[in-house]
């Protein structure tokens, strides 16, 4: 019988394997239990969650049985890149993460604890809706040479809201009509764009939109190409002339007797035999005037004078080369020639061309800091009741000088009150060449207005001229927004 007992060790082996299996299961449960549970068991949880904008508008609501967004299609679509969706297709909305969190899984209680939670955002969905209304109608200027191409789908009719814009970008007509899409000419090619508005005195991010966008409740229309990319955070673009603000900041801090300084521009300027081209001949101009003229020659000279090391230091200092984080959502880093490139290329980089790439969010931080006298209040999209992180971003005197110059830009070059009625605008335009003839239209700046301390960045991909497209659109958006909020106040 001893033998039999000894041989019963075979049963012991099986029992041991069962115990090992249980241990494997428990370890996996600790590791992945949350993912498993939330995959199918959400509907069994009694928890609910709500994502609200600053005015209490529901941007998303979920319970065990349903996942909803805002009731209104425009609000859903305009705020899509703020919320993201439950399945995290954008990769950087709050909703997916919040959805998991609010469902309250933990290893001890599983999903059995029901909780009701709310998440407040600083975002104003009204502002996003206004931005959507004005940005979504911008079309890419039609290239005459473009040949007819076949449609990838059957001809069909679409209902369109169109605006006609005059040569200066002024709205002259709005119309709604049905358009037959029969060939590629008829298909409107709307611009991709990105815009953010932030209160520079409090750090609250009021608006953020990226086009094209998606109606998360619309399961039938296929999303436009790149619709899931948030262009405010997850993309970087050639900045063009808006980058002159950076070169200007560096020049202010590194040049003695700047007010005496004059920059001479005669259409073209050769650096080591390579021409830097300007829009006009600006002849003799002061530093301020060079900015107002957005003179390429002057800023190329400044960049060369500062030298590459100084330029790189400033670009780094202002955070353009780093990944930033908006409430924990990582943004992409920009680029600037950091390896030795030689003076001509350095000149181009000083005016925002060359290999310069800027993420709109990094640009927003920069203008916020300028507007707030050099102190950056890190923008916050979530209202968690905590004060934003404050940091000395640039010298106060530099910031004030840039404020003055941006104000001067508007009054001297951009049409002042005529272009921006009712807005105390300080800004810089950018028309960034991207090499194929098209240009990105940029408009960055802030309102010098203590009631409406808004800093903004507007970028329209392949939109055309910075002032005409981005500037005028920004003006219309802010007018409507401020008009609305004042109307509401009364």
């Amino acid at each position: 019988m001893k033998k039999i007992r000894n041989r019963s060790v075979s049963l012991l082996i099986i029992a041991f394997l069962v115990i090992c299996g249980m241990i494997v299961y428990v370890l996996r449960y600790v590791d992945d239990g949350k993912e498993w549970a939330l995959y199918f068991s959400r509907s069994n949880s009694g928890s609910t969650g709500q994502l609200l904008d600053r005015n209490g508008v529901t941007l998303a609501y979920f319970s065990g049985f349903e996942n909803r967004f805002a009731d209104d299609a425009t609000t859903r679509t305009a705020n899509y890149h703020v919320t993201g969706d439950y399945w995290n297709r954008t990769g950087n909305g709050f909703l997916a993460e919040y959805w998991d969190e609010a469902m309250g899984f933990d290893l001890i209680t599983g999903t059995t604890q029901a909780e009701h939670s709310q998440m407040l955002l600083n975002i104003d969905s009204t502002l996003n809706n206004i931005m959507y209304k004005h940005l979504s109608v911008l079309e890419i200027p039609i290239d005459e040479d473009e040949s007819l191409t076949e449609l990838p789908f059957e001809p069909h009719t679409v209902h369109q809201w169109r605006v006609a814009v005059d040569g200066e970008g002024k709205l002259i007509e709005e119309s709604e009509k049905d358009v037959l899409i029969a060939n590629s000419w008829d298909r409107p090619r709307f611009c991709n764009s990105a815009m953010m508005v932030c209160n520079y005195r409090t750090g609250e991010l009021l608006g953020m939109i990226s086009l094209p966008t998606v109606d998360p409740m619309d399961t039938e229309t296929p999303p436009a190409e790149g619709a899931y990319i948030n262009r405010c955070l997850s993309a970087s673009f050639t900045p063009g002339s808006v980058f002159k603000l950076v070169t200007a900041a560096a020049t202010i801090e590194n040049t003695d007797q700047l007010s005496e300084k004059r920059y001479y521009c005669e259409d073209e300027y050769y650096i080591a035999g390579v021409p830097i081209v300007c829009t006009h001949s600006h002849y003799n101009q002061s530093f301020e005037l060079a900015m107002a003229n957005s003179c390429n020659v002057a800023f190329a000279q400044m960049a060369v004078k500062l030298g590459q090391d100084t330029m790189v230091n400033y670009v780094k200092q202002y955070g353009f080369l780093d990944k930033q984080s908006l409430d924990g959502i990582p943004t992409v880093a920009g680029s600037y020639p950091t390896e030795f490139v030689g003076d001509p290329e350095l000149g181009w980089s000083g005016i925002g061309q060359s290999t310069d790439l800027v993420c709109p969010y990094a640009m927003l931080r920069f203008v916020c800091a300028i507007a707030n006298d050099g102190v950056l209040l890190e923008p916050k999209m979530i209202n968690d009741g905590k004060a934003p992180k404050a940091e000395r971003f640039m010298e106060a005197s530099t910031a004030r000088k840039l404020q003055e110059m941006m104000s001067y830009n508007v009054s001297y070059s951009y049409g002042g009150e005529h272009t921006f009625p009712g807005l105390n605008m300080c800004a810089k335009t950018g028309t960034a060449e991207i090499g194929d003839g098209d240009t990105h239209a940029w408009f960055v700046g802030f309102l010098d207005d203590e009631e409406h301390p808004y800093a903004f960045v507007t970028m329209v991909e392949r939109g055309g001229g910075g002032l005409y497209v981005a500037g005028n659109t920004t003006s219309r958006i802010l007018q409507e927004y401020i008009g609305n909020s004042e109307g509401a106040d009364e």
Partner: protein
């Protein structure tokens, strides 16, 4: 009213967990830590040294692992077997020893020779005197042994179990649909009555070991809960099945009281097993991939479940037969038939259970690792063949470990099982509150997840521990069993249940391929429940603690030729 239900539900949820843990802990303590002394059936004297004969089958030899060790070079490592029958007759068998065996000077053939008290045994020149002891002395010796259930009283454990069942019933009363509440209550109360009836029956026949039954009832109660959750309309059927299961358990246990009876039934059982499988292969229809159901008069049953019991019946063997080659060969043939039949039926999981049981039995019989390796490699070849012939088996393997990549088709059940199991946390959502019950086969193949979701991971782990405890107990009993037959049967029964449990639990959790077998006692399925109860009888038959098991006769009641030894000298045994 709502508040009342809420409080009742919350209290019950936690009470069920506490009771589960208490029951398992008490049973484990009782089964694995209580004293377990050997019985003494006779003595052999070698000179003045008295060696107790502690089993009905005793190996004699030079090896360290024999029961009666005679350390002398002339002895073979395994020399002879000393065997006692139910009736108290002793025989000695020479198992191919080099030196040979003589009784009173007569050479013993491989077919053995009867010996009587006082006989002299010559094992290759080593002389032993055999002395049997009579009933009176047996009872004297037995009185010195520790009775089962002294330290951990089975009555109290059973009280805990009853409390557990009552709270489980309350949970179901809170969550079940109105029309089923009555049936659920009656079924639970019926189960409680059944277990107390069973307990009092044991007390009546003066048996005090009740852990095996307690654990089986614990698992049956969980099975009842699963039934109440998933098929509340079938509560009476479930209760009826449990009653029949317990009846079969008692009947089988009674059958095992006689070794002769058990041993003699082996060949008929094997034939019955093959017949059942044969009928199954020929007649049954495909039900969800496997044709393992047989329908008779409106009742469907799974022959393979009963074949499992018959297989153990036929496969276990007494020690004297273990050393006969042809016995092993016919057993291998029988096993191969069973596995092939299951493969033909397409029940991959059960085929695997049979195969592992075959390995356990053949290892316990032969002790030869080479045999096991040979069998494993043979099975490996057969497996490759099966996968090529039946592509859906290959598919199951393909999805194994990747279930989350195909959550709508091949990983459908596993992913849902894992999700539901995790969502219950440690304490569960409350009986009947989960959603997994609506998924196909939740109450059979994914029952671990169903219990995890409803009653929490602690109870689900207790459920596994209950079967593990039974397995360890079977191993412990194997050391002391009267006959190798009981030891092998108990160990094989438990290894079968453990393999079945692993395939069920780990299959649904994607740790093993998903094969769709049942969890012992807990999964819905009449045939499975009945066979599990019968398997418990094997475990009971090996439980040789004093007055522990109804399936084991007390020493003074064994043997009919008692008066023969009345003249036996009392002083001899001291």
């Amino acid at each position: 009213m709502d508040m009342l239900i809420f409080y009742a539900m919350t209290t019950s949820r936690y009470a069920v967990i506490v009771m589960s843990v208490l029951i398992i802990v008490r049973c484990i303590r009782s089964m694995l830590s209580e004293r377990y002394e050997a019985e003494v059936w006779a003595y052999v004297y070698r000179g003045d040294e008295a060696i107790p004969v502690c089993h009905w089958e005793n190996l004699i030899g030079r090896s360290l692992s024999v029961d009666i060790r005679i350390d002398n070079r002339s002895m073979s490592r395994v020399h002879a077997v000393l065997v006692r029958s139910d009736t108290g007759e002793w025989r000695i068998f020479d198992i191919f020893s080099k030196g040979g065996v003589w009784v009173n000077g007569m050479k013993v053939s491989p077919y053995g020779a009867q010996i009587h008290s006082g006989d002299s045994i010559n094992l290759a020149g080593n002389f032993l005197r055999f002395l049997d002891i009579n009933r009176y002395h047996r009872s004297l010796l037995d009185a010195q042994r520790t009775e089962a259930g002294l330290r951990v009283e089975p009555f109290i454990t059973l009280m805990y179990l009853t409390v557990f069942e009552v709270f489980l019933m309350i949970e179901h009363m809170c969550t079940a649909e109105g029309q089923f509440v009555k049936a659920i209550c009656l079924a639970f109360l019926g189960l409680i009555c059944l277990q107390w009836l069973c307990y009092h029956l044991m007390r009546f026949i003066n048996r005090s070991g009740f852990e095996v039954e307690t654990l089986a009832f614990y698992l049956s109660a969980l099975g009842m809960s699963v039934a109440a959750t998933s098929t509340p309309e079938d509560m009476f059927k479930q209760l009826l099945l449990t009653i029949v299961g317990v009846a079969l358990f008692l009947l089988s246990g009674w059958w095992f009281r006689s070794l002769k009876r058990s041993s003699a039934a082996r060949t008929p059982m094997a034939i019955l097993a093959i017949l059942l499988l044969g009928v199954n292969v020929v007649t049954s229809d495909a039900v969800f991939g496997a044709r393992n159901w047989l329908e008779i008069g409106g009742y469907s049953f799974q022959p393979s479940e009963f074949v499992k019991v018959l297989y153990i019946f036929a496969g276990a063997s007494t020690l004297d037969r273990l050393y006969r080659r042809n016995e092993l060969y016919s057993f291998i043939g029988f096993s191969a038939l069973c596995v092939v039949a299951m493969a033909l039926i397409g029940d991959f999981g059960t085929a695997l259970i049979f195969f592992v049981s075959f390995l356990v039995i053949s290892f316990m019989r032969s002790g030869s690792i080479a045999t096991v390796l040979l069998a494993v490699s043979g099975a490996g070849l057969a497996g490759v063949l099966a996968v090529t012939v039946k592509p859906y088996i290959a598919q199951r393997f393909a999805i194994w470990g990747h279930v989350w990549e195909d959550i709508y088709d091949k990983g459908y059940q596993q992913t849902r099982a894992m999700s539901a199991a995790a969502s219950g946390g440690l304490f569960g959502k409350g009986a009947g509150e989960g959603w997994l019950k609506d998924i196909f086969a939740a109450n059979t193949d994914m029952v671990f997840a169903l219990v995890s979701e409803d009653l929490g991971m602690i109870v689900a782990v207790c459920m596994v521990l209950a079967v593990l405890a039974l397995a360890f107990f079977a191993m412990r009993s194997a050391r002391h069993a009267r006959s190798a037959y009981y030891a092998i049967a108990a160990c094989t029964a438990m290894s079968m249940l453990l393999v079945q449990l692993s395939l069920n639990v780990f299959g649904s959790l994607d740790i093993l391929p998903f094969t769709g077998v049942t969890f012992p006692f807990v999964s819905r399925g009449g045939s499975s429940l009945l066979s599990c109860w019968m398997m418990m009888a094997f475990v009971k038959s090996a439980d040789n603690r004093k007055n522990a098991s109804f399936a084991v006769k007390t020493p003074e009641r064994t043997g009919i030729y008692e008066d023969e030894f009345d003249e036996f000298d009392e002083e001899d045994i001291e």
